[in-house]
Symmetry: C2
Amino acid sequence: MLSNVSPKAPDPSVRVKLIEAAARLLAEEGPSALSTRRLASEVGASTMAVYTYFRGMDELQHAVRKEGFDRFGRLLEEVRETDDPVADLAAQGAAYFINALTNPHLYRFMFMEPLLDGDPEVGLWTFEKLVAGVQRALDAGRFAAAEARPLAMQLWATAHGIVTLHLAQLLTFEEAIAAFGDIALNLFVGFGDDRARALRSLDDAQTRVAGPVAATG
Amino acid sequence: MLSNVSPKAPDPSVRVKLIEAAARLLAEEGPSALSTRRLASEVGASTMAVYTYFRGMDELQHAVRKEGFDRFGRLLEEVRETDDPVADLAAQGAAYFINALTNPHLYRFMFMEPLLDGDPEVGLWTFEKLVAGVQRALDAGRFAAAEARPLAMQLWATAHGIVTLHLAQLLTFEEAIAAFGDIALNLFVGFGDDRARALRSLDDAQTRVAGPVAATG
DNA sequence: TTCGGAGAGATAACGCTGTTGTGCTTTGAT
DNA sequence: ATCAAAGCACAACAGCGTTATCTCTCCGAA
């Protein structure tokens, strides 16, 4: 065994501790709290830990971003499928909304910062869940014949637009909620769904996620 | 006259020089170039200039943000009204899109940074132009009876969502362009406009702004 | 069992940032 | 002419990410 000698083996727990501390600091105190010295003191190590377990602050933030997508993915898993695929889409959108408002700083990292090196694939798998949901609605004949991916992209861009306008304080919470319902309804109609039926699906979704939404205040 | 004595009157030209230099540096080198020392050397003054003409870096960036809205407003003025209000709306959206992709860093300052103190009104007047455009479409009977403001908000959130996803490199330029047309069409249909007629309006708008769009590469 | 070397990790330093304090200089009203 | 207030430059301070240096500790080979 010539290679892979391991004197003073690295402690993998420090790595996850750094990521979790970073996510916590990000949530509690915002991006300005994410400094090497602060993180080091939180974990009980020196600033060098950031460089032994990551390439630097960039890679640590990338890891935090990945952690954010994992959490969001877990939240998406909780959206159970019903026999109304359009209501399920609305519920997925609500989950997106809740996740963003619960962890606004994390959302910023995930969806609003330009990628530095080449890792665009780290969170796009969550988008595939949306594509699958749109495909279900297409298969059920709720939407006019079209490709699922472009439709999913339109829904994503819509939810993202409302969320980011709210995070930038250009929309109040109430305005964002209202716009979210209105725009989903109009998009569903534009997709070819019957207006009355789409409205019913939206109402169903709203009652399903009423609890979590109320919890976010 | 006990108050308002004025020894060594301030030079207002330094103030606008700072703003213009900041806007230029932001466009050419990105946000990281916006430092007090860099700005001072660009203008030929010391770093104190930032504090004599502004409260600090925060207020200077706020002024840059205002400058961005002024430029965007001037761009909006160039969108002349035709007899097709829906096509005019699409043209307004295209102007929004062009402005964002031409000055991505400035767009970030204007629409993606949370407001620090209370100045939410600094650029919202551009939104009123969109509201007026929607009202024209309503008056022309192109949209189903509704209030102009919520509809305008939906259009804004949509354009903003697509732009920001592109700025975050989550959508390619081609995907953003395609999504922009698709989503506008579906929203217009959801608003109550006839699909064929909305499609024609979109085509008209596209030909009207084809030159500028091609110029952005 | 001993010993060499490689990785972990602390300390300090470098260059950068925004901001503040300290003076000197200029200026305009009295 | 005088005087005070504001402009303005220089330097310093605390913070940042990053890097260099140095020690220490542990693992594997002899």
